[in-house]
């Protein structure tokens, strides 16, 4: 049975990701594909997304849905409805309760939109809270202020969301241990079901990276960031949030099923400009180009399959490389590389393939190797990239 699954590719279900690139403004650190809302393009974008879903639906069970961007909730209600409807119908038709997430900004999630999401079957909402410090929000170039976050969470609860996530960012220029722990505390007070805590990255081409180069912002000290990461695990842990991935914490078993698909290197369909799909061992990323996307999918002669001109990158790894990549992804999880799962999925014995890497990193105290899994230790999580290099 294990072997059958390893070779599957068309067997079980897939996760669905929908990328809606519009945002009110671009945040200083963001390197996802997003651009200011183009009112005129919305009808065509909606038409294109619907067309792409229709054409590219692999016809397999939908395991999870995640609608992200950009900010999906900047779309007007009717447009948002039109995008979500086709998924909603499929999910209802299957008749199985699945995780259905939509991202939202604390300042753009009003009651109507939240109710619309509920109506469409969305059962998890993820807010980009990022910080409860006004100064840090300004550095990050976020449009909301801390009070919006509490408001957004209570609106979501009122609309019936039982699964709410807050994203937070540490390592922000000017951030102190005190202000970070304060943000954690205020997030905990709002009682979310899930918290994602990301370390700020200076990505090429972002406003923040430019400011850093010009000496306008000073990055957080590496040692302080390490302490912030440790405080995150202990503070959230004390509040009942279990760390299940390097940056992700859940209460009451509400792990993000959709992201787990990524971390286990399982299959997903990505719809929308710049979205990534991983189907049948092929990972494909489409171009970050709304115009080209619209022209292709909403054009007079919309294609019957993913148009080659829209493909930005396509990659099909060999069997071993795929196994290695899978291991690296799984190491992010606190469950680690579960030996049985790994073998079933890749056809390799993890302890054989990674013997030297395991030995070296276990000796350095970065890995634990017992209980049927290979896991990063706490020290190993802080140095995860170094451990992962050895698995590649």
């Amino acid at each position: 049975m294990a072997q059958a699954k390893a070779n599957a590719g068309s067997g079980g279900g897939v996760g669905w990701y929908v990328h809606l690139p519009f945002c009110t403004t671009k945040c200083g650190y963001c390197d996802f594909y997003s651009l200011p809302t183009q009112e005129d393009w919305i009808p065509d974008l909606v038409k294109a997304v619907r067309r792409e879903m229709e054409v590219r639906d692999p016809g397999r069970a939908i395991r999870t849905v995640f609608v992200g961007g950009g900010t999906p909730t900047v779309l007007p209600a009717d447009a948002l409805r039109a995008v979500l409807e086709p998924i909603s119908e499929r999910v209802k038709k299957a008749g199985v309760e699945i995780e259905f997430t939509c991202e939202a900004n604390p300042s753009t999630a009003d009651e109507l939109k939240l109710e619309l999401l509920r109506e469409m079957g969305v059962n998890r909402v993820s807010f980009g809270a990022q910080s409860f410090d006004l100064g840090e929000l300004a550095v990050l170039q976020r449009l909301h202020d801390p009070s919006h976050i509490a408001e957004a969470v209570s609106l979501a609860r009122a609309a019936g969301f039982e699964n709410v996530n807050l994203d937070l960012i540490f390592g922000v220029p000017g951030q102190t241990m005190k202000s970070w722990r304060n943000s954690l505390r205020r997030a905990i007070e709002l009682g979310p079901d899930h918290v994602s805590c990301y370390g700020l990255m200076y990505e090429e081409g972002t406003a923040l990276t430019k400011q850093r180069r010009m000496g306008l912002v000073r990055p957080c000290d590496e040692d302080v960031e390490a302490e912030m990461f440790e405080a995150t695990i202990s503070d959230l842990g004390a509040a009942g949030y279990e760390q299940y991935e390097i940056s992700n914490f859940a209460r009451g078993g509400r792990r993000c099923e959709h992201n787990l698909i990524y971390w286990r290197n399982e299959e997903y369909l990505g719809v929308g400009p710049s979205a990534v799909s991983y189907l049948g061992g092929v990972r494909q990323k489409t171009k970050a180009d709304v115009k080209a996307y619209i022209e292709t999918w909403a054009g007079a002669e919309a294609p019957g399959t993913l148009a080659a001109t829209l493909v930005f990158e396509s990659e099909e790894l060999g069997r071993e490389a795929r196994a290695r990549e899978t291991a690296v992804q799984m190491l992010r999880l606190n469950d680690g590389i579960e030996l049985g799962r790994f073998t079933a999925q890749t056809g390799y014995e993890a302890r054989e393939l990674f013997g030297a890497a395991i030995e070296k990193n276990a000796a350095a105290g970065l890995l634990s190797n017992g209980g049927g899994a290979i896991r990063l230790t706490r020290a190993g999580q802080l140095l995860a990239n170094r451990v992962m290099e050895d698995f590649l």
């Binding site: 990301y198 990524y262 590649l392």
Partner: protein, 604 residues
């Protein structure tokens, strides 16, 4: 041609004062090159020379000038232009080129005036007993002050101001007058074609098809095709397969006679079989004595080249060999470093020569180089009274193994604006300079003569001079002798392991500051490891400076890449690949840049 109708001369000038342009104009005016065939600056034929604005290898042309004046007999004269290398590193080559001449054109920019190199070259010409024609160039520029400059020449070099010839090499203005002056004022060569052959090799180059071409000046006797000749300095015999002149194209002739300047092919395979300054004579009927002043090339700056990322030591060797075939003064031999593996110790005439070789290697052979800090050769007096030379700090034995260490000294002439004297003196003081004298060129420009240990000026001195003087300062230097000094070897230890490629020889008084600077720079280059890394600078067993690179606390990408798993993987692969290209010293990985950073003088 009658020897009285020959004139042999060089143009000597400071960089940028227009030597190549003047040479071009002389060729064109004499009809040696048609105007339409004229490539800008005909005589500088290497791409790199053009880019660096300097002439690296001496070049040549024989010009015919129809003299219509009356001071000497009218008629056709043969003018042999012997181009000299234009940089401070090539003193010896310059001196040999001058030895082939009877006179020089001392070319000075009409707005810049006399520079350090002008002086140094003029002194050489005077020492060599050559006639000097002062030539003031660029007189058509708005800032030109030709009469002031002529005064400067008279005051400084006792060249009568009224003898100066004003030209614009660019427009050709004054060039016909200059040609007449060459005929009138420069003496014809002396020599006797009936005596045994005595010719000077003043330059040599490689012709890709015919082997080495020697540029020669015949002093006595006659050299003809098929003569059996002997190179007296290296003591080897060859058959002269072809002789002739440059018009400026290579033109075969039956023979060259006393006073002539031309070329000789003699089936010489590599440039290293010939030494500039050597004397050519007939094997069967040699001249009584070789020409004076000959010595083999003297390498004064050394550094090691190691293959950088993407280059193997075999590729590096091939690249070095290729260059070596074209450059008689460059040398290399295999060496090895515990830190950097197999590489090559290379010797150069000076620092500019080193930079040229390094750039040519990278450009012409596309090799990646890791270069160690340049060093000068040191002499060690051993207890048995023998003197040995060391060319790398790594070769320096412990102090109990020698009685004395001596460093090469130079005499430097530095021309600066008078307002920069203070700053320059301070710099010279930092570099252990000894002031010899100060001469005023004019009220606002001075020549300072200093003695320096060469090791103190080999890398950033010139840059510092330039920045102190807003670009106006110029310097020329010449090796004088070796002098005993209180010199020590400064070792750098990374995680308690000495890194041989980072060692330097310094004066004891400067060891601490140099060591501190070195490890501060290293601290920035070496990334944090999973353990603490002590960095130490030590003289013998005494640690004189230390720093610590803290252990890494965090190396994790706590970011959601969503479905873009490939991107995350590629970032890790890149990081891993980067580490592979670093050098492993003990259990510390040191990036190539760290070795290079030693070269960067940084802030004092």
């Amino acid at each position: 041609m009658d020897i009285s109708r020959i004139r042999n001369f060089s143009i000597i000038a400071h960089i940028d004062h227009g030597k190549s342009t003047l040479a071009d104009r002389l060729l064109e005016t004499c009809g040696a090159v048609e105007k339409r065939d004229m490539r800008a600056q005909y005589l500088d034929d290497m791409e790199l020379e053009r880019e660096m604005g300097i002439t690296i290898k001496a070049n040549r042309a024989t010009l015919r000038h129809e003299y219509k004046g009356t001071r000497v007999p009218a008629g056709e004269y043969m003018l042999n232009l012997i181009d000299t290398p234009g940089h401070v590193d090539f003193h010896y080559e310059v001196s040999r080129a001058l030895a082939a001449c009877e006179g020089v054109l001392l070319l000075v920019d009409a707005s810049q005036g006399i520079e350090a190199q002008t002086l140094a070259n003029a002194y050489k010409a005077v020492e060599a007993g050559l006639a000097i024609i002062p030539v003031i160039n660029k007189i058509d520029l708005p800032a030109a002050r030709p009469h002031d400059i002529a005064e400067e020449l008279e005051n400084t070099l006792s060249l009568p101001a009224e003898e100066a010839i004003f030209v614009s090499a660019k427009s050709g203005m004054g060039v016909p007058e200059l040609l007449d002056a060459i005929v009138e004022r420069l003496p014809p060569p002396k020599g006797d074609s009936t005596k045994p052959l005595k010719a000077l090799i003043y330059d040599a180059k490689v012709d890709p098809h015919r082997g080495v071409i020697c540029h020669i000046r015949v002093f006595d006797g006659l050299i003809a095709r098929n003569d059996k000749v002997q190179l007296m300095g290296v003591g080897r015999e060859y058959h002269a397969t072809d002789v002739g002149k440059f018009f400026p194209k290579i033109t075969s002739l039956e023979n060259l006679t006393a006073g002539d300047v031309g070329y000789m092919f003699a089936g010489i395979k590599t440039i290293h079989d010939v030494n500039i300054g050597d004397t050519v004579t007939h094997a069967s009927n040699p001249c009584d004595a070789a020409l004076p002043g000959y010595h083999p090339p003297q390498q004064m700056v050394f550094c090691d080249f190691f293959p950088g990322p993407g280059t193997t030591s075999i590729q590096l060797r091939e690249a070095l060999e290729k260059l070596w075939l074209n450059d008689s003064s460059f040398g290399f031999e295999p060496t090895s470093s515990a830190a950097l593996g197999t590489g090559f110790r290379c010797g150069f005439l000076g620092l500019l020569h080193m930079k040229i070789i390094q750039e040519r290697l990278e450009r012409e052979s596309a090799v990646d180089l890791v270069q160690t800090a340049p060093t000068v050769p040191y002499e060690l007096l051993l207890p048995n009274n023998k003197v040995i030379k060391i060319e790398s700090p790594a070769d320096m034995p412990s102090p109990d193994k020698f009685l004395e260490i001596r460093e090469p000294m130079i005499r430097a002439e530095i021309v600066v604006p008078a307002r920069s004297i203070g700053a320059l003196m301070q710099l010279a003081d930092e570099r252990r300079g000894t002031h010899k004298k100060t001469d005023y060129l004019s009220t606002d420009r001075v020549v300072l003569t200093y003695e320096f240990p060469m090791g103190e000026v080999i890398y950033d001195f010139y840059d510092r001079l330039k920045s102190l003087t807003s670009g106006y300062g110029t310097m020329n230097y010449e090796l004088t002798n070796y002098k005993a000094g209180d010199l020590v070897k400064l070792d750098i230890l990374v995680n308690a392991t000495p890194v041989d490629a980072l060692s330097v020889i310094v004066h004891r008084d400067k060891a601490e500051i140099r060591g501190r600077r070195l490890i501060t720079r290293l601290r920035k280059e070496i990334s944090r490891h999973q353990f603490e890394i002590p960095l130490q600078a030590a003289v013998g067993s005494k640690v004189i400076a230390r720093e610590t690179i803290k252990a890494v606390r965090k190396d994790v990408t706590a970011k959601c890449y969503g479905g873009d798993v490939s991107r995350k993987r590629k970032l890790l692969e890149k990081q891993k690949e980067g580490k592979k290209r670093m050098k492993q010293v003990g259990n510390v990985t040191i990036p190539q840049e760290a070795f290079m950073s030693v070269l960067d003088p940084g802030d004092e």
